[in-house]
Amino acid sequence: MNQLSPVLEIRGVSKRFDATQALDHVSLTLYPGQVHALLGENGAGKSTLIKIMTGIHQPDQGAILLNGRSIQVTNSSQAQLHGIAAIYQEPMIFPDLNVAENIFISHRGRGAVVNWRKMYHDASDILGKLGVHLEVRSQARGLTLAAQQTVEIAKALSLKTRVLIMDEPTASLSVHEVTQLFNLVRTLRNQGVAILFISHRLEEIFEIADHITILRDGKLISSKPVSEVTTETAIRDMVGRDMESFFVKDESRRDDLILSVQGLARSGVFSGITFDIHHGEVLGFAGLVGSGRTDVALALFGISPADEGKIIYDGQPVTIHSPAQATHLGIAYVPEDRREYGLVMPMSIAANITLPMLRRYLTRLGIVKRRAEETTAEEYRQRFSIRASNVRLVTSKLSGGNQQKVVLSKWLNTKPRLLILDEPTRGIDVSAKAEVHHIINELAKEGLGILLISSDLPEVLAMSDRVLVMREGRQMGIFTRQEATQETVMTAAMGQKITVGGI
């Protein structure tokens, strides 16, 4: 089928970081008009491969060929000149600049003087083609993750891109936005752009990819057209063993309430939020990205408190006005943006995990007990199979998915009674995701109340006892496990009338 010649070829690339062989003789070929998916567990070396293609890392060995000719890529601006653009796992935006500037900042040849009017015009043009409405004059600082990502895509498209690399672009998007993104990807593919696509969500891969390459521990395991791959073989190649791909939560809901929220509101953000959580219950929060789910979580955790409504915790009416107070009550919040709120990057895994509970790791003189700290961290490292040679490693060197596991460990270590999880499996590979689901199940059985915010709809449906759907800061309804299906939840999230019956 592919009589075309390849645009970009990676031949026998190896890369080593200290003790980690991140890539070991990996080859990959990208054709114009093809969507090539790259799969692998956390730490398999996917992001490293991409960073080699864009000149952020230099390979120890191997070659990169563009249109059959060997090229050197020593920095990102060279990659851009070659027509290679990438959207990274962590959005790389300039918070102080506005949307339009973020799109055009690395452009050359837009004249010696900045023509603001033209820049705003061109930026709205590009965003318009992407079918998104973003105010091009607004500062990037306040944008949601999804919006930041759109800006990055616009940035990549504004350059003459022949190869577009997307490192987990869907991780922070909801179903609706993923559909939009995929339409865009198909348009680009039809225009002859070669696309390299990374995701941990298999159903997405099968929807969009033409070719699938799988890495494990830095080695190339398989590379086949999508027609020759099934979910089972893909998982086996990634994990190295067979594994059931989905998990359904056991019944563990008890009769006594842990939290009851009535008419919670924060002006201009959300209003009329009313729900109960029982001990042992998982309440899923579904909705589009930006529908206010995180804002409700932030209010319950006291980061940006609600200004209306009642919160009854353990039978006592409370007002939660600070995270410290929330923590004291036994509420833990695992945030969605691990870079901003989750991790202290230059500190070790162990130090990060014990940070909120440091009191427990002090000697009587107030000195940190390193041994105890590392024992705890080691437990979590094994429980979540965090890929790091030891817990003294600084978190900035971990792969994205492994960082997420550290954040989760950190909050579980506070031994909470009400756990708020905001996108807990974002960027986490299949086996770790199964592990997280397993842990949620265990915690619920122990009697914790869990509030699960997730844009991964199958996950919400499988893990929740009940699902609350939000749209534009309002509560659209609460569905029981029987009532909640892909269709009912999506229609509610999109704001349409819920049609009964149907398919």
Binding site: D96, L97, E472
Partner: protein, 347 residues
């Protein structure tokens, strides 16, 4: 409210509030000091502010990139001394040559700072704390603690500070103050309209993203230091003509006033945001405070304490106010997007 948000940025609110504070302070001192509203007060303040303003333009560019230059006072001192020595030794040097000499020697000192910071990968605060001492030490060695004296300087240089550009009623706008103002405006334009200016903000805003976007971060930072050096050189020239008698301790401690002006003017000390106009208002505010407190004969200790308090207030209000405002603005943007989405869906 939406319209307001689109037209005004949080930074501009900050600048307006600085302007308001300046007006309030002038009214306050006017009620405390006899004959405060006079041409003399204006002259004093404007001539004390102009040097700081010129140097702070360079400092602002460095600070925008999430760096700092502590060595500006030594650069001003050194260039002032060097230029003074050259003109007093040969009378027939033309003004243009003297200015060029000061500016290019300043640029050279800035280049050394820039190379060490951008290519040597040594933290800016360490590098410039070092060169602050080194440049000063070199000047002491070079000058053998001999002073440049006013009587050795040519007339054109000594009279330069009294050169008037034009007069508004009683107030004479001096040439040098006008020059300082024009430099502020020119560099404000650079920040707004040249790709270089926008990239200064980008680098300070997120160094990681700048690297990944393929911006030549090191060259941009280097140039910021060179410009800071060059403007310190110009500041040195102005210092020479204004003070006349220049020794090896010239301009010592000036970097604190310069950095104070930058910070009070709302330039984020962690880079990424701030304007030249804001910095100018900061410099003017500090200048008014200084000159007025001198006239009220407040003792040195209290003067410094009041200065320090203003700096703390500026930084604290910056953190609080700007976060609030930005939050408000961002929420506005989100609400607008939702409204637009809804409108599109209706169609």
């Amino acid at each position: 409210m939406q319209k307001v948000r689109q037209l005004i940025r949080p930074e501009q609110i900050r600048e307006l509030s600085l302007l308001l504070i300046i007006i309030l302070i002038v009214i306050f001192f006017g009620s405390q000091i006899e004959n405060y509203y006079s041409a003399r007060t204006f002259q004093r303040i404007s001539s004390s502010v102009m040097i700081i303003m010129v140097v702070a333009v360079g400092e602002t560019m460095v600070v925008l990139t999430r760096n700092i230059d502590l060595s500006v006072s030594s650069m001003v001192g050194f260039t002032a001394y060097l230029a003074g020595q050259q003109v007093s030794q040969n009378d027939n040097l033309s003004p243009a040559v003297v200015v060029l000499l000061a500016v290019s020697f300043g640029a050279l000192l800035g280049l050394i700072n820039g190379l060490l910071v951008a290519y040597g990968k040594i933290p800016a605060i360490v590098v410039t704390l070092g060169t602050l001492a080194i440049y000063r030490g070199a000047l002491v060695e070079y000058g053998h603690s001999k002073n440049i004296l006013v009587r050795d300087l040519p007339d054109w240089l000594v009279n330069l500070p009294r050169e008037t550009l034009f007069s508004v009623g009683e107030l004479d706008i001096r040439l040098l103050a006008g020059l300082a103002f024009i430099i502020v405006i020119i560099f404000q334009m650079v920040l707004l309209f040249l790709p270089y200016g926008r990239r200064l903000y980008a680098i300070g805003s997120s160094p990681d993203a700048a690297r990944i976007a393929g911006l030549p971060a090191r060259r941009i930072v280097l140039l910021a230091y060179v410009l800071c050096g060059a403007l310190s050189g110009l500041g040195g020239f102005i210092y020479l003509s204004r003070i006349g008698t220049v020794g090896t301790t010239a301009a010592q401690g000036l970097h604190m006033q310069v950095i104070a002006a930058v910070v009070v003017g709302g330039v984020n000390i962690f880079g990424g945001s701030g304007t030249m106009i804001g910095m100018m208002l900061g410099a003017i505010l500090m200048g008014i405070l200084e000159q007025s407190l001198i006239r009220m004969q407040i003792n040195e200790f209290w003067k410094d304490a009041i200065f320090g308090m203003f700096i703390l207030l500026a930084v604290a209000s910056d953190a609080l106010m700007m976060n609030r405002l930005r939050d408000l603005w961002a929420r506005g943007a989100i609400q607008m997007r939702i409204a637009q989405d809804a409108a599109v869906q209706k169609e």
